[in-house]
């Protein structure tokens, strides 16, 4: 009974409205795409190659990310050392790192003129080439290894310490008894999440793909629209992309991946197994792999800042404006959905996972084109699409917190007759400050660094910071690009920090 009372007193209609908006955005644009796909020229041999490449690189990227994450997570789970907490925090950084900035860092380390190539040169070996299949996989492992480590680490530390003690007293092997069952439960979900992320890869393939040989479906959509002006083919490819993402998202949903965003990573179980040297190797290797490119971004960026073109400041302002709009919309939508808590709202909250920015972008492009020059709406569309794509993440942060609030204060509020807006304002919002701040920080950083839909709508002026950086790299002004990269990195992290901090201030008691 209490449950139904609680749900009656909740504010329902904004959630329904938000869900309708999301469904319209995802399915409406898909419909616009599907209608257009009918007069397409069909898929050529190279399109099938792009589909094959997309799947193969995603499988290998996910397998490598998860495969390497297991020893790293195990090492982190059983070792206690100075800076461990900081390292685990830093493992969260690539998630909010602008893709194009990370690519610059990877080029500085693994490119033809990078550190590794120079080192190889000293011992007489030829330099590396980062373009093509292996470059795309390398970048994807860079982004997703930390995510996989954090998710698998969650699995490890969720094994209660008592069981390790029990295993010790029984002198039973830990691997087959405790660790393998946990990995069997956790790893497939992590694999699918990483696979899904790599499936929608755009900026990586744009920057590091070696032409037709390393083209993802997302990139092919962009090329069909912006290079060929082939609306039919773009639409057909968009449908393929949605199909691939939907299948993966459904699989991931069924396997129910663990929540990688939850806290509580500091509890270290006393362990006596495993070699210290081996664990040390894995932790050092992972830290070097992740931190070296970032250090290069900072190092090269500092010298490159003097080379930045004047257009960098308006671009920064535009990016901040887009990120603020996108963040506001994300919070409104996900708060409304979390309040509603119905089945339709739940569906709408995960729906964006099955789509991609290029697909929704293509749909909006086709719709806007009927009325106006779509290239004049780049910033609006970018803010809208970024907000849509951030909603599933924000929901995952907000929904559990909302459940807690209702669980703790629901009956009291009911007995006080606090309903609707009043209940939201006096009971729920003050207690959601922290997750709201975190979700807003995530949304802002993701939007700030986005280089996806903006390329589709890039017109005259209206450059965002990532787009400006990409164009500088295209003109091979690498020093200027490095400067802009550092600025972008600083802006993204600052946005995240301000929101996340804002959520914690006063709530720290």
């Amino acid at each position: 009974m209490a449950r139904s009372v609680v749900s009656i007193n909740r504010l329902k209609w904004p959630g329904t409205l938000a869900a309708l908006l999301l469904v319209a955005l995802v399915l409406g644009t898909l419909l616009a795409v599907a209608l257009r796909a009918e007069d397409g020229t069909g898929l050529g041999a190279a399109d099938w190659a792009a589909i094959r490449f997309t799947i193969v690189q995603a499988v290998i990227s996910a397998a490598l990310s998860v495969g390497l994450a297991i020893p790293v997570a195990r090492a982190l789970a059983r070792r206690r050392f100075f800076g461990r907490g900081l390292l685990v925090t830093l493992l969260g950084a690539p998630f909010i790192l602008p893709v194009i900035v990370a690519i610059l860092g990877l080029l500085a380390v693994f490119g033809r003129n990078g550190i590794v190539s120079h080192a190889l040169g000293w011992i007489g070996l030829p330099p590396l080439s980062i373009y093509g299949f292996h470059g795309v996989v390398l970048a994807h492992v860079f982004f997703n290894l930390p995510l996989a480590v954090r998710m698998i680490l969650q699995g490890w530390i969720s094994i209660p310490a008592e069981r390790f003690r029990l295993a010790a007293t029984l002198n039973a092997p830990i691997g087959p008894l405790l660790e393998r069952p946990m990995l069997r439960a956790v790893a497939p979900g992590v694999f699918l999440v990483v696979f899904l992320i790599c499936l929608s890869s755009f900026a990586v393939a744009l920057a590091l793909g070696g032409g037709p040989r390393a083209t993802t479906v997302e990139l092919a959509i962009y090329q069909a629209l912006r290079f060929d002006f082939d609306l039919g083919r773009a639409a057909l490819l968009a449908l393929v992309q949605v199909g691939l993402c939907t299948i993966t998202a459904l699989l991931a949903w069924r396997i129910a991946a663990p929540d990688g965003l939850a806290g509580g990573l500091d509890r270290v179980v006393d362990r006596w197994d495993g070699s210290k040297a081996m664990d040390g190797f894995w932790i050092t290797a992972a830290a070097l792999f992740l931190l070296l490119p970032l250090s290069m971004v900072i190092l090269n960026g500092l010298t490159g800042m003097l080379q930045m073109p004047a257009s960098v400041w308006p671009a920064l302002m535009r990016s901040i404006g887009v990120a603020l709009a996108s963040t506001g919309l994300t919070i409104l939508l996900s708060l409304a959905l979390a309040l509603n808590n119905g089945r339709f709202a739940g569906f709408a909250g995960v729906l964006p996972l099955a789509s991609s920015s290029l697909v929704v972008g293509t749909g909006l492009f086709l719709i806007i084109r009927e009325f106006a020059n779509p290239l004049s709406y780049g910033l609006v569309v970018t803010a809208l699409v970024n907000a849509m794509l951030s909603v599933p993440f924000a929901i995952r942060v907000l929904a559990p917190a909302m459940r807690d609030v209702e669980h703790t204060f629901g009956r009291l509020s009911d007995s006080l007759g606090l309903t609707g807006w009043a209940r939201l304002r006096w009971v729920i919002l003050p207690r959601l400050r922290r997750p709201l701040g975190f979700a807003a920080g995530l949304a802002a950083a993701l939007s700030m660094g986005d280089l996806g839909v903006i390329t589709l709508f890039a017109g005259t002026g209206g450059e965002t910071l990532p787009l400006l950086m990409h164009r500088l790299m295209g003109a091979y002004r690498m020093e200027a690009a490095a400067g802009v990269g550092l600025l972008l990195l600083a802006a993204s992290l600052t946005m995240f920090w301000i929101f996340d901090r804002g959520g914690r201030v006063d709530a720290e008691t």
């Binding site: 050529g44 041999a45 190279a46 190659a49 792009a50 490449f53 033809r112 003129n113 080439s129 373009y131 093509g132 070696g210 032409g211 037709p212 040989r213 083209t215 090329q223 629209l225 912006r226 290079f227 060929d228 002006f229 308006p314 302002m317 901040i320 404006g321 603020l324 084109r369 106006a372 020059n373 779509p374 290239l375 004049s376 017109g459 005259t460 164009r471 790299m473 295209g474 003109a475 091979y476 690498m478 804002g502």
Partner: protein, 327 residues
């Protein structure tokens, strides 16, 4: 929070209130044309000195992406003039119905006859692979294809040199173009969307050679006093490029656009071309070509498809290229 929002809004307002007194002529072009070292800045200054207007160049990727951009924007385009497509694209551009006759009669110094009513040439050149002295030069496309040499090329869907190479292979080897592409595939380090990026990669040492022009070594010779860059001369002959501009029919600056088209073949514009765009000017300047141009490779055979033939074969040739390189 409020402070941030107000200051963002304030800045946006300030940007919107830019003074817009002189009429603005918007010219869409390729990125390297507007770069600091390209012809854009000099031409902008020269034209603004005589037009009492604000000439704005808009870089829209590389040459072929320009056409797609104008097609995407259709009747809503902001462009008044489109500068930087070539004869391989003029037929497709004409078909959009977006372009108006240029109405300019000029004495052009082109190696071919010119009678296009809509598109007016401003420079021309021969495509060639540019490499460093000392690298063993192949004597033909076929020799390059069987060699181990590493090259950077451009995407024919976004870049006019990339498209030029596709037509080059097609005209030089009409019967076995597919085989040539399949043999070339393993020589290609990467495909870039634009010329600048490819040339930058080459200069950084990412490849032995880059698809560019026979005139590119002149840049290194004249601007950098470096005679170490060479263009490979190929037995099959070299495909030619004639770069053109066209006036958008829907323009609200019709007179200014006409004035710009006429300016394009004048001495002020043409004399800048050889040492900024590093191409042969469409009208040879009074002082002739700069010193250093006489050292350039002169192809024995010039290859060029008519605009109609280029348009008719473009889609198939690109698909053949994509299929060969995606393997």
């Amino acid at each position: 929070m409020k402070h941030i929002l107000t200051s963002v809004a304030g800045l946006a307002l300030m940007a919107g209130a830019a003074h817009a007194e002189p009429p603005v002529l918007t010219v869409y072009t390729y990125d390297s044309f507007v770069s600091d070292w390209g012809p854009g800045p000099a031409i902008e200054a020269a034209f603004e000195a005589e037009c009492a207007c604000d000439l704005q160049f808009v870089g829209a990727g590389d040459g072929a992406a320009l056409l797609a951009r104008v097609q995407l924007e259709g009747d809503n385009t902001d462009a008044d003039v489109v500068l930087g497509i070539d004869t391989n694209l003029t037929a497709a551009a004409r078909e959009t119905g977006l372009f108006a006759p240029h109405g300019v009669t000029a004495d052009l110094d082109l190696p071919i006859e010119w009678s296009d009513a809509e598109f007016l040439p401003y420079d021309w050149g021969y495509f060639a692979f540019v490499s460093t002295e000392g690298v063993e030069a192949p004597a033909s496309l076929t020799e390059l294809a069987v060699s181990d040499l590493k090259i950077v090329i451009q995407d024919p869907r976004s870049s006019t040199p990339g498209l030029g190479l596709v037509h080059w292979v097609q005209t030089a080897h009409p019967d076995d173009s597919q085989a040539i592409w399949e043999a070339l595939a393993d020589n290609v380090v990467t495909v870039t969307s634009g010329w600048s990026e490819a040339y930058g990669l080459f200069l950084e040492g990412e490849a032995d050679a880059v698809l560019s022009y026979t005139t590119s070594p002149a840049y290194h010779l004249i601007a950098e006093e470096d005679s170490g860059k060479v263009a490979w001369a190929f037995d099959e002959g070299h495909y030619m490029q004639v770069e053109v501009a066209g006036k958008i029919a829907q323009t609200d600056q019709s007179e200014l656009a006409d004035q710009f088209m006429a300016f394009m073949v004048s001495e002020a514009f043409q004399s800048v071309i050889p040492t900024t765009n590093w191409m042969y000017p469409a009208v040879t300047p009074a002082d002739g070509l700069p010193d250093g141009f006489e050292t350039l490779v002169q192809p024995a055979t010039a290859l060029l498809l008519s605009p109609e033939d280029a348009a008719a074969t473009r889609a198939d040739a690109i698909e053949e290229w994509r299929a060969a390189l995606s393997q």
